[in-house]
């Protein structure tokens, strides 16, 4: 892009009516682009909402799927919802403490060289495609042992970790240095300062980051294909077994021939979408609240 000279002479030389016309055109294009973007979103969300709402019933949550039947039979996705709860829950339990600790280390303790190295590692981890994480966890935990919800959770935790760590780092950085210094000056040991004074200030941001990370992995399919896809039709809670999950269920139902399967896929997609929407909106609201409280300038 060439630097455009904005001298009065050059502008006058081009002629005002023509410039105004070009400006109008560009504004129109921008309006069109925005309309198109909104339209796309509306179409996708409307598709899911309309087809999903029609198929949404209690059966989805209380009945389990049937592998094959010659005639239509009432079924649902109870096993997928249960499995998603377990897998995402365990993934959060794995990623949350590690993410917070990494953020604490980078923000409070690390030397600049170590800090940039670990920060780079976090960026790299964030940049690994989910399907490669699936291959990795498959080779690490599944070969020889069999699939399990634990393996699936570990894969999701790898995806969540950089998200949690980054958002925690951001809020930790927002806590003013003076707070730490005052605490240390009063004789509070460093570890106590970090855990009891600094960290509580950041709880809102940590929760926000965690909620966003959960919303992100709740819909992750690729790593679960490798780690928790050979599943049964019954509801199970044991993480040693492979458990069905909502995104994998949607993936499989989408390719089926039965319109009833499609309907259940839409319904499950709607539930997933609503969960993610509420989680994201909730997180944004928390961000607004937290930044107001910390007085951050956005």
């Amino acid at each position: 892009m060439s630097t455009h000279s904005l001298t009065k002479a050059s502008l006058r030389a081009e002629g005002l009516p023509r410039r105004r016309a070009v400006n109008r055109l560009m504004e129109l294009l921008a309006w069109l682009a925005a309309a198109l973007g909104v339209a796309i979103l509306a179409v996708v969300v409307w598709s899911v909402a309309r087809r999903g709402a029609g198929a949404l019933n209690l059966d989805l949550l209380t009945r389990t799927p049937v592998l094959f039947s010659l005639t239509p039979v009432r079924q649902g996705l109870a096993n997928a919802f249960a499995g998603s709860l377990v897998i995402v829950g365990i993934a959060t339990l794995l990623a949350l403490p590690v993410g917070i600790l990494v953020a604490i280390y980078l923000n409070e303790f690390a030397r600049p060289s170590v800090r940039s190295a670990v920060s780079l590692a976090l960026d790299v981890l964030n940049g690994v495609p989910a399907i490669v994480i699936g291959i990795f966890v498959y080779g690490l935990l599944v070969v020889g042992h069999g699939q399990s919800a634990f393996a699936g959770s570990f894969a999701l935790a790898c995806i969540m970790l950089p998200l949690v760590a980054r958002s925690t780092m951001e809020v930790l950085a927002l806590v003013p240095m003076s707070l730490r210094e005052a605490s240390l000056a009063l004789g509070v040991p460093r570890w106590r300062t970090t855990l009891s004074i600094v960290l509580p200030q950041t709880i809102g941001g940590i929760v926000t980051g965690t909620v966003l990370a959960v919303a992100r992995v709740a819909g992750e399919t690729a790593p679960l294909l490798f780690t928790s896809s050979l599943v049964g039709t019954q509801v199970g809670w044991d993480p040693h077994h492979a458990l069905q999950t909502v995104p994998v269920a949607i993936f499989e139902l989408a390719e089926s021939s039965d319109p009833a399967d499609h309907a259940r896929a839409w319904a499950a997609a709607l539930v997933l979408l609503l969960f993610i929407l509420f989680a994201s909106l909730g997180a944004r609201w928390l961000v607004a609240r937290a930044s107001r409280r910390l007085g951050a300038v956005r």
């Binding site: 599943v231 049964g232 019954q234």
Partner: protein, 342 residues
């Protein structure tokens, strides 16, 4: 924020309550996990509740395709694999002490979607090979017309749908094409996944059935149970005696009588394109196998399950167009099952 957390907790708890109350998990402990062929999935799905109530075992089965099943049992990520394609010597070696046991018998239907044509279309091997290699591109091609005199065929393009995953049904289908057409054998050959000259891929037999059902002029191949479930038309295939047969119980058992001796080393049977003598045979029939490690920590449960499957389990077959396996094959199967040990 506390209210949000409260709401989240309530929602999670109610989901948990709803799903837990759904179907109480009846099994008394052992779960048998299997994966593989989508061909045999209709039959296995009937077995799941039956085995549960008979022995209290929780049977899990994932129809990921025969290739996936062989892969899974080789890596011991499942307790048993299922494949319609018999294991090659390399695969036997890789599987390290696995046994291959024929446990079901059915056929591959060639499904098609031509809304205007209500008649049962006739087809033979070489023409079918011509279609799937792209040489015959339209439904009103001369070769197809010759086999179906008097039927008005539309000039629609033939849209081929094949399996995108590694599939025993593909193996069975390409085995038949290779046997009926030397041109196909040299150009493309037999396998669970081949270099398809034309066509688009779909995952699983259900995927192929779905795609054909939604594509005008589509043609594909699936286990006949899927054709029945989706009410899809299938072709009547010409067997070696010149008769046109459909994938029904009669055609299947006639084909099965063409090979009654499982291979002594691998238990393999080949009943594709049977010789002229078997004039009622449907030429794309096949056995399907369960692959188990001869040494397993769940040996007792596997033996019980497999004995049940090849005897009482066969009774669930006929309405899904699975023929109960013949007596001499059953004897060999039972002998092999008895060898599974701890």
């Amino acid at each position: 924020m506390r209210t949000l957390a409260l709401i989240a907790a309530v929602v999670a708890a109610s989901v948990a309550a709803g799903t837990a109350g759904a179907t109480p998990v009846k099994q008394s402990g052992t779960t048998l996990v299997g994966a593989g062929s989508s061909f045999v999935a209709p039959l296995v799905s009937q077995w799941i509740p039956a085995v549960g109530s008979a022995y209290g075992y929780g049977l899990q089965y994932s129809p990921i395709g025969s290739g996936g099943g062989i892969n899974a049992i080789t890596g011991r990520t499942v307790d048993f694999g299922a494949s319609d394609a018999p294991l090659s010597p390399d695969q036997f070696t890789a599987c390290k002490g696995c046994a291959q046991i024929p446990w079901a018998l059915s056929a591959t239907a060639v499904i098609y979607n031509l809304n205007g044509v209500k008649n049962l279309l006739h087809m033979d091997g070489p023409t079918l090979a011509g279609i799937f290699s792209g040489q015959i591109a339209a439904w009103d091609d001369a070769a197809i017309k010759k086999l179906n005199p008097g039927v008005s065929l539309p000039s629609a393009k033939i849209a081929i749908v094949h399996r995108s995953d590694n599939s025993g049904t593909t193996y069975n289908f390409t085995d038949y094409l290779s046997s009926a057409s030397p041109a196909w054998r040299s150009a493309t050959g037999t396998g669970v996944a081949v270099n398809w000259p034309v066509g688009s891929g779909a995952r699983g037999s259900s995927g192929v059935a779905a795609t054909v059902a939604q594509t005008q002029g589509g043609i594909g191949y699936v286990d006949v149970a899927y054709a029945k479930a989706n009410q899809l038309q299938f072709l009547a295939m010409k067997n070696q005696s010149g008769k046109f047969t459909t994938p029904g119980l009669r055609g299947i058992i006639a084909a099965a009588s063409s090979d009654q001796k499982p291979d002594p080393a691998t238990n393999q049977l080949s009943i594709v394109n049977p010789p002229k003598k078997y004039d009622l045979a449907y030429p794309i029939s096949t056995y399907t196998y369960v692959i188990v490690p001869l040494q397993s920590s769940k040996a007792q449960e596997l033996r019980k399950f497999l004995f049940w499957a090849v005897t009482k389990g066969q009774a669930f077959g006929p309405k899904l167009l699975f023929q109960p396996i013949p007596k001499n094959v059953l004897v060999v199967a039972e002998k092999t099952i008895a060898k599974i040990h701890n």
